[in-house]
């Protein structure tokens, strides 16, 4: 398949693997931020191509993994209301809240629907004028423009039954928080290519400068990942800390001006809790005041409930790169995709799910 097969070329991967081995002289730790990239690494078992001196640390970039339990509980509560249709992405439906997930809520009679595009949630609202339609909007900068577009479309149609439960997260503040607390020792950072496609590279230039950190914006195919690792290894060996762009077929320094404009038009930053990590300053997006009539948090009454954290789950440490899934005592035992203790075991971008699916018990 064009533009895919080229980036899965065995010979080129082998050449880059040799180059990495010839350049690298010391033990290093590199973090890939995005869960999609973690999955590529495990799906293609790319560690077979890397010298043992490279320790790949999996970052917090799994949108459903870091969605706060409180929001999932609220989504479940909304779905159980008689006059509400709760709409979200497929990945979100299996993530456990305090007591259950949205799929269980549906089995209990909750009205939960899965969509592929945020605009589909607007369509559902216009087709069901007598029902309140709440779109559970999660994700990073990648999904924010499309979700913003959904709000603008609902506004254009004059819908009075459309709401958004907004749990948007921003990547750079989380990276800054991880690096500031000094628990994870990193020599290089592989930035999520699709977040950079939207936002550009300037935010990463500030981070790189502040923490003297080599950064490479990285794509998602095996060759992208090998190439980006080679680029970051070169920076480390040459004692540079630049922001380089491996994913130049979609990422520009300025980002996507239209997408950024639409995000800024609809959303504004706020402090946000990251599941397993804690509250990070200015790391979330909420609807601006002009769009508050669409904000589910402001337009529904919620029960005051304590969120419950499940014991024996080290999801927080895994999301911060402090531990790897196989180091968790529950991994593959009490915690499996069928009955996950933590969100990283559920999502198609979660590190635990990737280890379970591709790496478990292979001799």
């Amino acid at each position: 398949m064009k533009y895919i097969d080229e980036y899965r070329n065995k010979e080129l991967i082998r050449i880059i693997s040799d180059k990495i081995r010839s350049v690298l002289t010391k033990q290093i730790s590199i973090m890939e931020i995005c869960g999609g990239q973690t999955h590529t690494i495990l799906k293609y078992n790319l560690e077979e191509f890397l010298p043992a001196k490279i320790n790949l640390i999996h970052g917090p970039g799994c949108p459903v993994c870091v969605t706060p339990i409180d929001y999932i509980d609220k989504a479940i509560e909304l779905s159980m209301k008689d006059d509400v249709i709760l709409v979200s992405f497929g990945d979100m439906l299996r993530v456990p809240g305090s007591e259950k997930d949205l799929l269980s809520a549906r089995a209990n009679g909750g009205n939960v629907r899965m969509v592929y595009s945020p605009l589909d949630s607007v369509k559902i609202a216009s087709e069901n004028p007598d029902t309140k339609v709440v779109f559970f909007a999660v994700g990073f900068e990648t999904t924010a423009p499309a979700n913003a577009r959904a709000v603008i479309e609902a506004d254009r149609l004059g819908l009075i039954n459309y709401y958004m439960l907004c749990s948007h997260m921003l990547v750079p503040p989380a990276i800054e928080a991880l690096m500031s607390n000094n628990k994870v020792k990193l020599d290089g950072l592989l930035a999520a290519g699709h977040v950079c496609t939207v936002m550009g590279l300037r935010e990463y230039e500030l981070l790189s400068e502040k923490f003297k950190m080599p950064v490479v914006a990285m794509g998602f195919e095996p060759l992208d990942i090998m190439n980006a690792i080679y680029m970051v290894v070169n920076q480390i060996e040459e004692n540079r800390f630049d922001v380089e762009n491996q994913y130049s077929r979609t990422v520009t320094r300025e980002g996507n001006a239209h997408a950024i404009e639409i995000i800024n038009k609809v959303f504004t930053k706020e402090d946000r809790e990251w599941r397993g990590i804690g509250v990070i300053k200015n790391s979330g997006l909420k609807l601006r005041n002009e769009y508050s009539k669409y904000d589910a948090l402001l337009n529904f009454d919620f029960e005051k409930k304590e969120t419950m954290v499940i014991g024996n789950c080290i999801a927080g440490e895994i999301l911060q790169g402090l531990n790897k899934p196989a180091q968790c005592s529950s991994f593959g035992k009490e915690c499996k995709p069928e009955h996950p203790l933590g969100a990283p075991m559920v999502s198609s971008e979660g590190a635990c799910a990737a280890y379970f699916r591709y790496k478990r018990s292979k001799n």
């Binding site: 398949m1 895919i4 899965r8 070329n9 065995k10 991967i13 082998r14 999609g36 495990l42 799906k43 293609y44 078992n45 790319l46 077979e48 191509f49 949108p63 459903v64 992405f89 497929g90 990945d91 979100m92 439906l93 299996r94 799929l103 269980s104 549906r106 089995a107 209990n108 899965m114 592929y116 999660v138 994700g139 990073f140 990648t142 999904t143 699709h194 095996p222 499996k336 995709p337 069928e338 009955h339 198609s348 971008e349 379970f356 699916r357 591709y358 790496k359 478990r360 018990s361 292979k362 001799n363």
Partner: protein, 355 residues
């Protein structure tokens, strides 16, 4: 105090499906993954307990006097009911024909049970019936008995069909995962994941450059051809829900052997591959309705492959891997980039990714 009825149904058995997982039936219990597997193995098989069912093959192989029969049933609840390459009617016939075929049987008779939602259009029912008749004629089977129930509007989803089928097995045919040996070859009769993506794209209104058509077809002709030329067909499975990966895992577990497949040998059409890339799906787990996995001895593999390629439903047949002694019960794949990884069973259906 218990009523008489309650006492009657209290057999002393407790529900064997672990309550800790889910208290209700979820969609994933019907998704063909490990939750489905758990439900079948731990509930139905334990409750119904009989030698034919316990083998958990695609159909029951019954030894009645001197004639070996295969008997199977399946229910069809698909949405949309009409899709590119077929409809719920052809699917219901071909599905049961194929379940019988992979038991090594020649399908003969089929039953059809319809559960129809009030208000369903008779014209559509007529179209579905014609399609069933056509599929039955193509496969050389007869629909000999049936049943119709109508449920209130809102209590069903247009139409559900159950088919059961009976076929006869020649005395020298012996299909069982227990026949598998290390070194045996795995052959598939063509490109995978077409049915699942065809259904999804129709249901969700995705448009690809060329329309993706379901592979729904009867496999009995192809299967009988290979049974005629080889006495070393160990086992066969049709790779429906859960896809090729799930069925390979089931073969690995029931034969207690390991399986090694090669990613670059598995046929996937470009438009299907594109659809999977966009949705974040792995084609190995996407449903097929006309794909059979054949396990055959090494020495017969080439001969069987050629016969398959000469059949209209097997033109793109390919050898995709082998059975091995190592890692019993596990499927390992040599990836397109030359590394190896585990190919596991999924817990439920694949859900599209967020970004």
């Amino acid at each position: 105090m218990k009523t008489e009825n309650e006492n009657n149904i209290n057999t002393g058995m407790s529900c064997p499906v672990p309550i800790r997982d889910y208290k209700q039936i979820l969609m994933a219990h019907g998704g063909g993954g490990s939750l489905s597997h758990q439900l079948i193995s731990e509930l139905f098989v334990k409750v119904f307990d009989n030698p034919a069912l316990n083998l958990q093959h695609d159909g029951a192989i019954l030894d009645i006097s001197s004639t070996k029969l295969a008997f199977t049933t399946d229910s069809y609840v698909i949405n949309p009911i009409f899709f590119p390459g077929g409809d719920i009617g052809s699917l219901a016939v071909n599905g049961t024909v194929n379940d019988l075929s992979v038991c090594g049987a020649k399908p003969l008779f089929i039953s059809a049970g319809f559960i129809i939602e009030e208000g369903f259009r008779i014209e559509e029912l007529w179209k579905i019936s014609l399609s069933m008749k056509q599929a039955a004629d193509d496969a050389g089977v007869q629909i000999v008995t049936g049943d119709t129930k109508v449920v209130e509007k809102g209590k069903g989803d247009k139409i559900f069909i159950n088919t059961a089928g009976i076929g006869i097995i020649d005395n020298d045919v012996n299909i069982s995962p227990l026949n598998c040996k290390p070194g045996d070859v795995i052959i598939i009769n063509g490109s995978i994941a077409e049915h699942g993506i065809a259904i999804l794209s129709k249901r969700e209104g995705f448009e690809f450059e060329s329309e993706i058509v379901s592979d729904c077809c009867p496999l009995n002709g192809l299967v009988q051809n290979i049974l005629t030329i080889s006495k070393n067909i160990r086992t066969m499975r049709d790779a429906t829900r859960g896809g090729v990966a799930t069925v390979l895992n089931e073969i690995a577990m029931s034969s207690n052997l390991g399986i090694v497949i090669e990613e670059n040998k598995i046929p996937v059409k470009d438009n299907v591959k594109s659809g999977c890339e966009i949705l974040g799906f792995d084609p190995l787990y996407v449903a097929n309705e006309g794909k059979v996995l054949i396990i055959v001895s090494t020495e017969d593999a080439e001969k069987v492959l050629q016969v398959m390629k000469n059949h209209p439903y097997g033109n793109d047949s390919a050898i995709i891997g082998n059975l091995v002694e190592e890692n019993p019960g596990m499927v390992v794949m040599k990836t397109i980039v030359g590394t190896t990884r585990v190919v596991d069973m999924l817990s439920g259906e694949q859900l599209p990714r967020i970004c």
